[in-house]
Symmetry: C2
Subunit: 467 residues, 2 copies
């Protein structure tokens, strides 16, 4: 036994090139983790949670009555599963309301368009907005256009989103959604439409948050579905002016309150030190938020529930958070990080599941290389689930971001997101898109990760500074 | 040569068991047909026609302003392609109008439902209809229920549509759509919702025609998408009453006029004898009618255009018809058959392309076995396209039905409809669902078939009487 420990320590030192090797995870901990993986995570448990949330609550946009029901649902669910100290943490944010929304081509070929207002957009002011469209391949092309290039027009950003397992295509195109209205208004536009940030051709427009700038005129902003973007492109190719009508009722009005729902598996030795996992509870209003992010809530709740079945609690506290209002700017996560500012040194590591329901294919982490050997050990337990440790790449889940900014290390259980942007932020984000067995694999992985992270004697240091 | 002809004749006699063998197609005709297949049907021609129709007209529900534009579009397109005697044939029908439509669950778990009114449905009378739902697995189960079983409720027919290449699943479930409102009203229901007649899980409700009966109370009828049907089923499984609200603005009001658009390739020897091919021009209002039935229009127009490139016209007239108002009851086809009643004996055979854009995998026909050898010959030319002659099965395209009722033989170039009911009658029936090369294969097949049918000396007799 001593020899094996020594060998592991040597190995750690070599692998990480660390001056002071960290203490490896104990054989007992690794055994418990294997039991979590193989026995304690109940098959179908994560799916049952998502089924419950999408059936009994459904769409739950932050600040709505349904969001309040979701908070109560999460509180009751955590309690029923036996978590410790189930509590809610309030926060305030600007309230956005969506009303009706209609789009159509007026000329040269009248026909309806499938549109949806982007989150945060103003409406068209009680009457339809009618204008000619002017197309740009990307926001970069729009920014490069001369002053007044879109004067009196509706800008149409036609950029396509490329499919990728890690969602990198979304990263490239989403700026058109978030900043398009500002850039279009700077060129004189009266409105914005974007090709949905979407990887398939179903005729669903994809919503998502957008931003205005204080010193730039606010204009209404909407997404059209991919087939409608194709249609507009074909019309434009015919060389005649394309005139459209947008009739959008939406507004930013006052403030609303929502809540993070927080539940612990209290640590047996160091209850004040915390490993955070979770998903976000809110969704957009169009679908039932099964993939985004009912899945993440179900996976991490089920993982936590499995930890509660162990004979002994983990050394540190494992905290499962159903984050509030992720969609409109990580509002709940920022509130938590601010409230816990003085506890950040006690936050050992954080991971969020918020990338749909595809299987996990890699473990990655934002830790100093010294700690890589610990992640290698965790990955040994994850190996039967098909999850290796990758030293490079990845990033924290969105709600973990505010913790990472305060120095908390992150882990990523990277999900296969190949299909995620087919459904993301649409009416089509529904339970039937989820494979229960894929959720099981993920709940098992989160249980293993959270448990071993809570057991690791040394913790994971602080998050590396990014260049 | 004489020997070969004799051998074919003998062979025909043997294969068909016919008393009087029909005269085989000539070597010249077969050569011309091969040239049509290999050269005269331009790659991309059918797709270009569908592209034009869906871009320049879009949705074109019978009786709407867009339907009138579609008629003019078809007339101009036939003329531009060089067809003979391009003309329109008017007919009248009851006009149905769709307004707004909203559905939602009120209790026990409030959330929106994706619904659409069935074609022909009345609205909810200017105010929302609120009632508890009562589910039936099928219309048969509804019919078998006791009197008053749905008193004051909204009947929910939850039958699923099974996927099949030949669409047989649609045949089994569509009765719930067409007759559900009548059967539900007989049991005291105040409304009907059905699980969409759909084979996938995208959150589109599928519309389609429904009927009332003279002596049964009219109640509003709508489809919910498959994910919404799943949701209602899950709610019902929880054992509490499920109460929903339907707010539908729709009405049957007055009459409208639409048109068949008819164009010929006039026959060189027997211009009064006619081979009919075509697709239907109208669509439902939700999508752009790319698959249903822009594809059929494009395929048969492109096939006809290829025939116009032959050095010699075919012996008989080949008539391409863009049928009007197929969706609401084969209105245009019935009008044509009635107007041409005395010409039915001169209608040699008919085929319609109205099953989406999937490749053709078989040639079938409603002819007496005497004529099978002709179809075997046609299939020899179709063989490189992967299309064998099948003696059994199949049926005429819908708009050919009224001709067949008057004794006109039919042919079916059977398309692979595996995915057809994923998109059928939804907003998602758009151009991007079509593969241009698959349309080419079909246009080639229609050109070969129409040409050889017009060349066949004997014709195809009369349609066999069905038992």
């Amino acid at each position: 036994m001593r020899l094996r420990a020594l060998m592991i320590a040597l190995c750690f030192g070599t692998a990480a090139g660390a001056a002071e090797p960290v203490e490896p995870l104990s054989a007992d901990s690794l055994q418990n983790a294997a039991a979590l993986r193989d026995r304690h995570v109940e098959a179908g448990a994560a799916y049952a949670i998502v089924e419950s949330l999408t059936t009994e609550v459904g769409p739950r946009m932050a600040g709505t009555e349904a969001d309040a029901r979701a908070v109560e649902w999460a509180r009751q669910k955590f309690k029923a599963l036996g978590f410790d100290g189930v509590r809610i943490e309030p926060f305030r944010f600007p309230y956005w309301r969506r009303g009706h929304e209609r789009g159509e081509v007026l000329a040269p070929f009248p026909q309806p368009l499938a549109i949806t207002a982007l989150g945060g957009s103003i409406g068209t002011g009680g009457a339809p907005l009618e204008a000619e469209i002017v197309a740009f391949d990307s926001i970069a092309e729009l920014q490069a256009a001369p002053e007044g290039a879109a004067e009196g027009r509706i800008v149409f950003i036609s950029q396509r989103t490329q499919r990728a397992r890690d969602g990198r295509g979304y990263g490239l195109s989403v700026i058109g959604r978030s900043s398009g209205a500002v850039e279009a208004a700077k060129k004189g536009a009266v409105g914005l439409i974007i090709r949905s940030i979407s990887t398939n051709t179903d005729r669903f427009p994809h919503t998502g948050i957008m931003r205005y700038a204080d010193d730039v005129k606010q204009i209404p902003a909407a997404a059209v579905s991919n087939p409608d973007a194709d249609l507009l492109t074909r019309m434009l190719e015919r060389g005649q002016p394309v005139r459209i009508r947008l009739d959008i009722d939406a507004e930013n009005r006052g403030e609303a309150t929502s809540y993070n729902v927080i539940a612990d598996i209290r640590g047996r030795e160091r209850p004040d030190e915390v490993v955070v996992i979770g998903g976000h509870l809110d969704s957009w209003d169009l679908g039932t938020g099964a993939l985004d992010d009912g899945a993440g809530v179900g996976i991490t709740m089920a993982a936590g529930a499995a930890l509660l079945k162990l004979e002994q609690r983990p050394r540190r506290t494992v905290r499962v958070i159903a984050w509030g209002n992720e969609e409109q700017g990580l509002i709940g996560a920022r509130a938590y990080a601010a409230a816990q500012a003085e506890q950040m040194a006690k936050h050992v590591i954080g991971a969020e599941s918020d990338f749909g329901a595809g299987r996990i294919y890699a473990l990655r982490a934002g830790v100093e290389p010294t700690y890589w050997p610990l992640l290698e050990q965790i990955a040994e337990v994850l190996a039967p689930l098909g999850i290796p440790f990758e030293r490079e790449g990845g990033g924290p889940g969105p709600d973990v971001g505010p913790l990472v900014q305060r120095g908390v290390p992150w882990a990523q259980l990277a999900q296969d997101g190949m299909d995620y942007f087919d459904y993301h932020h649409t009416a089509n984000d529904t339970l039937d898109k989820i494979d229960s067995e894929a959720l099981d694999q993920q709940a098992r992985a989160y249980a293993v990760f959270a448990y071993l992270a809570a057991e690791a004697e040394s913790g994971f240091g602080r998050a590396p500074k990014r260049p």
